[in-house]
């Protein structure tokens, strides 16, 4: 049968004085959820939704690749605390979103991904641009909907936002067949959503945790990104202002305690601070808040914090005991748990003194040999001079670790990074999302010459919307972190990491209409930072660095955090 089903024929009658279409219901439901900005890319199956956008009050940001739409919406969500929204068409549009959806899943970011789909009559027939995105996305979404009935759209959108933002946040996919989007709806089903209350912590669990804390002589506060998602940052800061426990953080927990706090000792794990890893290994108690014992944080798990008892606070009960048994598991509302913990001032002066002494002894040395630009020193100076409005959005690689190690963060939303997924290409779209969310912030994308090429087309988006994003591109003409591992663990067998034939990135940026300049000598560092910070519009600093520079310290793969390397042996 070749005839197009009548439900797929476009409705060409005037829009006014008619019941809304499914697509119009989507738009109004998004507005009802407080959405003001969406990121996307149009195509065949999602055309009804794009037809409903003009005049809707929703600001649409047209990216140049769907993956960037998902990354930008992810960063918008991290920056605002609201759900981010991205749109794509069926088939390749939808599959291009997947990496961004997975990124949001791994880092528990509230994201609503709306995909067009072929009409219901041809679903399952291998129709043009038909892909089972509902099935493909299942492992990387908190939940998903395939909309079969246009009347359900307001209810589904409201549910999707509720699911994405409640408990442990995450992405929700809404797959919208074209005919459903075109159907006129006389009587939509109302959006009645049950508000899910945060599960309060059990007083018995709290009492057990308090008893352990009061007995501890060498406690460490282990902070994860879950503290941010649970909106428990202030509660944690208040708790530790009293308790004074030496604190370390995962990559996504950076900024929960300001970098310069007296009790903060840096990131733990593979590229963590020497003192942070040492404290954890020597601890007799870990107070774990919103962290999941990720392998990049723990190193070899059965050697991690071998003498420590564990108190684990997390809003997701499934995380407690997943990788490390808890002596006191406290599932439920993390903020309430922290507010309930009454331990007062702990008598741990010798332990604190030891921690402070270790920090002094292991202070990072920014006086690297040579005349080239030293990326850690560049980043430390940049974040210090940018001040409290500084926001870093990172790509993935050596530069990402240098940012985590050397930038100063006064709040967690100052550091947006692809933590769990480690997705190269996140940096620039995330910078767009973060800057559009808070134009008053000094948003800087830190990228590398490998990562930038994953989404370099988004320079066009920056230009189109005049997004005043600052980009620092560390260019060592190699895939630096892979090269480092090949040097250290693969007997210097440098395989497919040489990017000698990179384009001139400053020329590329200028061809997109973005101001750019190149620096390579150390004495240019301060002037380059000044120029970056003073430029009003978008600007790219192309910073050439030595390809032999490695990220230190480093815990070798499969080793204990106690076996950190501080230089090549």
């Amino acid at each position: 049968m070749n005839a197009i089903p009548s439900t797929l024929q476009p409705d060409t009658s005037p829009k006014s004085a008619k019941a809304p279409t499914g697509a119009e219901l989507v738009v109004s439901a998004l507005r009802d959820q407080g959405v003001d900005m969406v990121f996307g890319y149009p195509g065949g199956a999602i055309m009804p939704l794009y037809d409903a956008l003009p005049g809707s009050g929703l600001k649409h940001i047209l990216v140049r690749h769907e993956q960037a739409a998902a990354f930008a919406a992810d960063a918008y969500a991290r920056a605002t605390g609201k759900a981010g929204v991205c749109l794509a068409t069926s088939g390749p549009g939808a599959t291009n979103l997947l990496t961004g959806i997975a990124n949001a899943y791994m880092d528990s970011v509230p994201l609503i991904a709306i995909t067009g789909q072929v009409g219901t009559a041809v679903l399952g027939t291998d129709a043009f641009q038909e892909i089972d995105i509902f099935g493909m996305a299942m492992p990387v979404v908190k939940h998903s909907f395939l909309v079969r009935c246009a009347e359900d759209i307001p209810k589904i959108i409201a549910e999707a936002f509720q699911i994405a933002t409640s408990g442990r946040p995450g992405p929700v996919l809404i797959d919208l067949p074209k005919d459903v989007a075109q159907t006129r709806v006389e009587k939509p089903n109302p959006a009645t959503i049950k508000k899910t209350a945060h599960r309060p912590p059990d007083p018995v669990d709290i009492a057990r945790a308090e008893a352990l804390l009061k007995r501890a002589k060498r406690p460490v506060l282990y902070i994860g990104g879950g503290v941010v998602k649970a909106r428990a940052v202030d509660a944690l800061r208040r708790f530790n202002m009293l308790a004074g426990i030496p604190a370390v953080s995962t990559l996504t927990g950076l900024g929960v305690l300001p970098t310069d706090s007296a009790d903060f000792y840096g990131m733990l794990g593979m590229h963590g601070a020497k003192t942070a890893n040492t404290l954890v290994q020597e601890a007799d108690l870990l107070l774990v808040c919103g962290a999941r014992f990720d392998d990049r944080a723990t190193g070899k798990l059965d050697t991690f914090a071998p003498n420590a008892r564990v108190i684990h606070l997390d809003c997701d009960p499934a995380e407690i005991g997943k990788l490390r048994d808890a002596d006191a598991g406290v599932p439920g509302d993390l903020k309430a748990a922290l507010e309930s913990l009454a331990v007062g001032i702990l008598d741990i002066s010798p332990w604190r003194a030891r921690a402070q002494d270790s920090r002094t002894r292991h202070k990072f040395n920014y006086n690297a040999p040579g005349a080239g630009i030293f990326a850690p020193a560049f980043l430390e100076e940049l974040s210090r001079k940018a001040g409290d409005r500084f926001v870093a959005t990172c790509d993935v690689g050596q530069h990402q670790m240098w940012v985590a190690q050397h930038c100063h963060f006064s709040r967690p939303d100052a550091h947006l990074t692809s933590g769990g997924l480690g997705a190269m290409g996140y940096g620039i779209p995330a910078g767009i999302g973060a800057k559009l969310a808070h134009p008053e912030n000094c948003v800087v994308t830190i990228t590398g010459d490998g990562s930038i090429m994953m989404n370099i087309q988004e320079l066009a988006t920056i230009r189109r919307y005049g997004v005043a994003l600052k980009i620092v591109l560390f260019d060592n003409s190699t895939l630096g972190l892979v090269r480092q591992w090949q040097e250290l663990f693969y007997e210097e067998n440098f395989s497919e990491v040489d990017l000698y034939d990179n384009p001139d990135f400053a020329d590329v940026a200028r061809s997109f209409g973005v101001e750019a300049f190149t620096v390579s000598r150390r004495e240019q560092t301060s002037a380059a930072i000044e120029r970056l910070l003073k430029t009003r519009g978008p600007v790219l600093a192309h910073v050439r660095i030595d390809p032999r520079e490695n990220v230190w310290p480093l815990v070798p793969p499969g080793k204990s955090n106690a076996e950190m390397m501080e230089r090549k042996s």
Binding site: F134, L146, I163, D316, P317, A318
Partner: protein
């Protein structure tokens, strides 16, 4: 490693069964048997025989991972590693 049986009660929805079985397999368990009894009251239940692919997997964690899926009402069965050590009863999430 022994087969354990999980009894899962959930709300019927498109993809719900696929979502449940997919999660179990992704989290390191083989699905050995499936029984989906007919439903009369609008709810659904699924009995899954599962076996861990390696030692150290705690079925209590799997039960909680299933329970956090949207639409899952109750998960019964399987003995946690901790309960096994203590000679305890089957768990619930």
């Amino acid at each position: 490693m022994n087969t354990q049986t999980l009894h899962i009660e959930f709300e019927p929805a498109e993809g719900a069964v696929l979502r449940l079985i997919g999660l179990v397999e992704r989290r390191g368990y083989d699905v050995c048997s499936i029984h989906l009894p007919p439903s009369s009251d609008g709810s659904m239940s699924l009995d899954l025989g599962v076996m861990a692919r390696d030692v150290g997997r705690d079925i209590g964690v799997l039960r909680r991972q299933i329970h956090r899926l949207v639409g899952v009402r109750r998960v019964l069965g399987g003995m946690d590693n901790k309960d096994k050590r203590a000679g305890g009863q089957n768990g619930e999430a």
